[in-house]
Symmetry: none
Subunit: 189 residues, 4 copies
DNA sequence: AATGAATGAGGCTTCATTCAT
DNA sequence: TATGAATGAAGCCTCATTCAT
């Protein structure tokens, strides 16, 4: 597909509309209205509605995965890695908030699109590996359940797309620290 | 609406299909196929597709809210309340897994259906109140951010709908304890 | 596909419209108008426009081929076989005139639909075999070009769909005899 | 319309594409792709798709008609005229094969375009007149049906567009002779 | 209660055509 | 002359909904 001049506008409009109404609940006419063109004109930019979804969802997915891979490869104590992972995760969410919300709503963990299943589960495995290393090195609790724990962290972070306003008073780094703080040390006095 | 004999089958089919494809992505024909009737026959049970969604989503929503209200009213230390709240939450998820998944995917935190916004936010306030009481009574950390913390717990629990198999090896109570364990005491050694 | 009550009406309307405007030039709304229903209602009868084309075109194609096969298997002198083949061909055209016209316009010899190519070329081979047998038995000219001759007969017969009115003064048998008469004995005095 | 430098390429591409997919089945983008330009650029050459069809179809139609008129005016025995008419017809087909195929598929005998009906039927009348003269002069059979016979010859010739390769082993003159041979003298031994 | 069949609105997509550059 | 991008109409198809039986 060519990426003509108004491509970024089209992407932003699609992300906004998909987030507000859901992928299936949104129509291409909604998207076109948001851009200020006719629905047929969208086909200068895309080849199908589904391809538009993938275009919206790809940037945050790829960025999160590549940053997480890089981080996982570093040699750093697990607690610090977890804190930095939360920052990366929240940072990607904040940077591409609408796009990432669409990923979280429509793709993450749902197994609806085989194309994305591999990426999706690789991220879970990366987080699990970080936790496992922490248990091995003694910085995390020995009794930690490695099946559950990664999903707890990921769920808490992904759930940000349902209530957080990344342009509000709590920024991405601050938010990441709060979540990783609870995850690492709990809320008990 | 009359609720004739095959009403439970209809509900179960709708929940299953809505969970698999999403509300907008699912068609009434999908639901009818699942029940083993023609789509037109569904209108002996429902008055519209949206009413069917609400019927699917109401039982877990009402049960969770009423159990949470009852729990919140008890006089119990916050850490124990949190553990029991997690059990209630995971218990409702497990009991109505498909139905609850639809609630989580289509309703929770999205603000798409005004009818559900009040219930939805009341639950967050209940959890927040439990945490606030814990801070006040000294059983939870003083520096706990009460805007964020309820969403961390709720997010981790709701995210169960994306990966947990309630009929798998980890039962609801066990799962609730693991999640509330991490939430209360963290994962650090 | 189910074949509900108005299936024959749908077929007849489609054949009529496809013949008048060509398959691609005709719209499903044209067909629906002809039947007296809405275009969406057609999908109670068909699964796609192309399937409708195939349904229209199948009866004459299959009938012609099966009758031609039966005829080819008989033991009869070639000139008589040719005359009877022409009667079969013109008879199928007359019986399913609109449907057969669509076959001739949209399918025969065009190679546009792989599904039909085999049937299409089998018929040519059948005719060629009849002619070859005639040459072998001495009832047809020794210098007959077997590559060309079958197409001459088939072309003359198929061309009927462009000018003949099967409900006009010249009936199918009479017409077949005239064409096979020219083909067998020529027009020279 | 101006006829700028790449006009012949445009015509050739249109003929090729119209022949392969049919006029309505082909898109201007198909044509433009074949030329190697964008579809909008075609409007430097044409004013509408239909005009393009007419441009494609005009050369063979006019050439055949004018050559047939000239031939019909000569004073020559009917059998020879028929043989030469077949050569003219096959010659035009061969010279403009793709263009002529489009004429045969989309125009001949269909009555879809009033602009062409007169030319189309004039040709039939010319052939019929040749045959009628032959009957009158005694060189053709007295019992020849003059309604049918011209269409037999024309049909056999036009059907060449469905199976003949004019660049193959049998050239136009040879092919014309075979067809007129069958038409004049039949295939019987 | 269920079916068969229809409706009508609307969604995705295509495509002839236009136009500023 | 060609391009890039748009328009607008229309086409195929889907689907929630209705209704006579």
């Amino acid at each position: 597909m060519p990426r003509p001049s108004r491509w970024p506008e089209v992407m932003a409009a699609a992300a906004k509309v998909f987030r507000a109404k859901g992928y299936h609940g949104a129509t291409l006419e909604d998207v076109a209205d948001e851009v200020g063109m006719l629905k047929g004109s969208l086909y200068n930019y895309i080849s199908s509605k589904e391809e538009l979804l993938f275009s919206v969802v790809r940037p945050p997915a790829e960025q999160l995965l590549s940053e997480a891979r890089a981080l996982a490869a570093e040699v750093v104590p697990a607690p610090e890695k977890i804190a930095r992972l939360a920052r990366v995760h929240a940072g990607v969410l904040a940077e591409h908030f609408v796009y990432a919300s669409v990923y979280v709503h429509e793709v993450a963990g749902l197994g609806r699109y085989p194309e994305w299943a591999a990426m999706d589960s690789e991220y879970v495995r990366l987080v699990r590996a970080v936790l496992a290393a922490g248990v091995a090195e003694g910085s995390l609790r020995t009794d930690l359940d490695l099946r559950t724990a990664p999903h707890v962290l990921i769920g808490a972070l992904n759930w940000l797309t349902r209530w957080w306003d990344p342009d509000g008073p709590i920024g991405a780094a601050e938010m990441a620290d709060r979540i990783s703080g609870v995850f690492l040390d709990g809320v008990r006095a």
